[in-house]
């Protein structure tokens, strides 16, 4: 906005090309609430835009005007919508439109409108847009690795237009840089479950469990890989509870650190899913237990202390554990 609002801006009323247009002021009423103290430039550009919109003028000057409005307020969805109508009417070069989006976005990759517009353009360009779009999102993510819109756009490109080849490596690279980047973990899950080149979750499970366990070992407090690990067994709790790698990783982290909340939390879930601990496992918390339900209950009690913020949740989980006491 600051960039556009320079002193060299020439008022529309002074431009010959706009001499025939009668600007339409905003219908705010006599005493509007939440009134914004628009700058003169903002007000005038909007007044001319309203005039063009009222005439439904799909011309090249209309296209230029939408660019001026967007530069002042890139969240104005009405303007973006009208711009698309104009682009279609003029059969504009959509490659140039990509450049336009980048020039607008520069410091503002957080609004829905820019990304929706980008998706529309990419859709029109088709398969040819794949590499450009992947590159574009990569650049945005380089600066803001968890940008929600950028990730959504990237997923849309992959699903609609393709480009899956390098995606798993892309995720690995980002995770190497920041293993706490949950968006990259989410993308990894997306690739593993949706990529036509990989063979699906079942085929990848063992590979991913290894990858995950390595990440856990490197940073046991990092919640992301623990959630991912559970996700690999979504809808198949039984397989989770009986996977030796998963069980071993969980037990090992608790042995290393009895206050590792993520490992303890997984242990509760493993037990609920039917994991049968060995006698040495049951002594993990240095308290004698006589059944898996007992152990689960002890782990919950322990979590109430080491994870005090979630004490109510752990107490609740504990209260729902099955009682193993014989009915008298």
């Amino acid at each position: 906005m600051d960039r556009e609002e320079g002193e060299d801006w020439e008022p529309l009323r002074a431009r010959a090309a706009w001499a025939d247009v009668v600007p339409i002021p905003q219908d705010d009423g006599p005493r509007p609430v939440v009134p914004i103290a628009y700058t003169d430039q903002f007000r005038e550009v909007m007044d001319y835009f309203r005039a063009i919109l009222a005439k439904d003028e799909r011309s090249s000057r209309a296209l230029e005007l939408t660019a001026e409005v967007i530069a002042l307020n890139s969240a104005n969805y009405t303007v973006w919508h009208f711009r698309r109508l104009v682009l279609e009417a003029l059969r504009s070069n959509l490659e140039e439109e990509l450049d336009f989006i980048e020039s607008v976005a520069e410091n503002n990759f957080k609004n829905y409108q820019i990304w929706h517009h980008r998706r529309w353009v990419a859709q029109k360009l088709g398969v040819g847009a794949v590499s450009g779009e992947l590159e574009f999102t990569e650049i945005v993510l380089l600066d803001d690795a968890k940008n929600y819109h950028a990730w959504s756009h990237r997923q849309w490109v992959l699903q609609e237009l393709g480009g899956w080849e390098g995606e798993l490596d892309f995720c690995s690279r980002l995770l190497e840089k920041d293993v706490y980047n949950n968006s990259a973990w989410n993308q990894r899950y997306f690739v593993v479950t949706k990529s036509p080149l990989i063979g699906g979750l079942q085929a990848m499970r063992e590979h991913e469990v290894h990858y995950c366990v390595d990440a856990i070992k490197a940073a046991p407090m990092n919640e992301s890989p623990w959630r991912y690990l559970r996700g690999l067994f979504k809808g198949d709790q039984d397989a989770l509870a009986h996977n030796p790698l998963v069980v071993a990783a969980c037990i090992e982290e608790i042995r290393k650190d009895a206050s590792c909340v993520q490992a303890l939390s997984l242990l509760v879930d493993l037990l609920c899913a039917g994991f049968r601990p060995t006698p040495s496992d049951t002594e993990l918390l240095h308290q004698p237990v006589s059944s898996p339900a007992d152990l689960a209950s002890n782990v919950c009690t322990h979590l109430e202390n080491v994870d005090a913020m979630r004490a109510r949740y752990w107490a609740w989980r504990r209260s729902l554990l099955p009682s193993t006491t014989p009915v008298s």
Binding site: M1, Q26, D27, D28, G29, V33, I36, A37, Y38, F42, N76, Y77, T78, H81, Y112, H116, K146, Y148, S152, Q155, Q159, V179, Y180, W185, N186, A219, P220, M221, N222, E223, S224, G231, L232, K234, Q237, A273, G274, F275, R276, S290, S291, P292, A293, D294, T301, V306, D307, A308, M309, R310, A311, R312, Y313, A315, S319, L321, P322, S323, T324, T325
Partner: protein, 477 residues
Amino acid sequence: MASSSSAAGAAAGGGVGEQRGSPSTSVSERMQKSLEDSVETLLGAFASAANQHTTSLLLELWRDEHVKYLKKGYQHLSSTYSVLDSSRPWLCYWILHSLAMLNQHYSSAVCYRSIDFLSRCQDKHGGYGGGPGQMPHLATTYAAVNALVTMGGEKALASIDREKTLQFFLRMKQPFGGFRMHDEGEIDVRGCYTAVSVAHILDIMVPELLENIPEYICSCQTYEGGIGGEPGAEAHGGYTYCGLATLALMNRVDVLDLPSLVNWVVFRQGAVEGGFQGRTNKLVDGCYSFWQGGVFSLLQRMMPELISQQEGWNGPLLAASQGFSSMSDASNCVEEVAGDETEGSVDVEKEKRTSQRPTVINQFMSTDDQLLYGPLFNAQALQGYILLCCQVLEGGLRDKPKKSADYYHTCYCLSGLTLAQDSASHRINAPPPPRAVLGPYSNLLEPVHPLCNVVLRRYYEAVRFFRHSPPVASYLG
């Protein structure tokens, strides 16, 4: 005494990005550490406060300053607000709703002007746009309707064209269940929530509008347990609230995997900060006090379904344990819980005695419904984060320390605060016990409806008003 738990929360340690023996730190770790430091400074100042007077002062909600800040914005916004020129009904809602929670009344002149302005945002074919002359948009329709409901009164409510609103919603509806936010606009879970919340209040929830919504929202629940904006997207607090509230309004929460949703959302509360983050390994932000805190308020009202799913999930454990002879009695645990927290506790026994499962919507609708369960999150710590870290001395509330206040964060910090205060109530519409309110009891805000986020009293008024309006003809025809 009430204050000690947030200090205890701070002492518990073990933050999201806590690092142990890692040679190099990542961006996520550095940002988390820096935020924890500034939060701990604030919480530390509180913990070391010399006497009860000082602690009470520190925990005070600065009502006058916030009211002043809100009222000023309603009359004048600087040119920097131009970027919100397509969100003016939102500005109305954020400010009016905040004032309503603070129990402020507006003059009839303000009401008149607000109704007049919002009418200028209402499209002649239905729905409200971001400003006069802008296309109708689902989000600004939600904001405008909620603003009008918050003002209340026949004039405000009657200014909404129900019939055309429904027509607009049906035009945005997609066969697979989602909604476009505007003509040719983007589709995501916000669309479902804003349409269904408004349709609920206006009593225009026709079957056609609801078709395939449960399936669509279900497809947005991720492997983490929370809900993303569209299928495949990362679990996120805003969308999780929207998805869960939509399904609660439809009485279809059964389609979700609730145990994994709860497990995801409990971990969004920062172990050090007490506030909520929107996504795993992101920084806490005051606005999620409502989006994530609101999820807990909803869950609190759907405990029968949640418990039933969680018990189903525990099934294999029962089988695995039957071979063992046990010395423990699990019912002791329940008693312990009840003993620790006599009021608003998670009373499982009581629920087990309740043979009839109330539907979710009944839990929200009836004014004298009992709340059988306390919250599953730490409501005191959340209040601590909002009061100590989000208030700005000049008025307004913010995302986190070192940021400035804005109307969006003011609205959602206060909305989260009132839900947290209310979470220990035993009855909907009854004031919470004093110890449920962190700081002086004068911090207590007006209660809000957790599904629509408008003050309760106005919610009931609007629902009564629209229930007595004639049925919408367009659907009958």
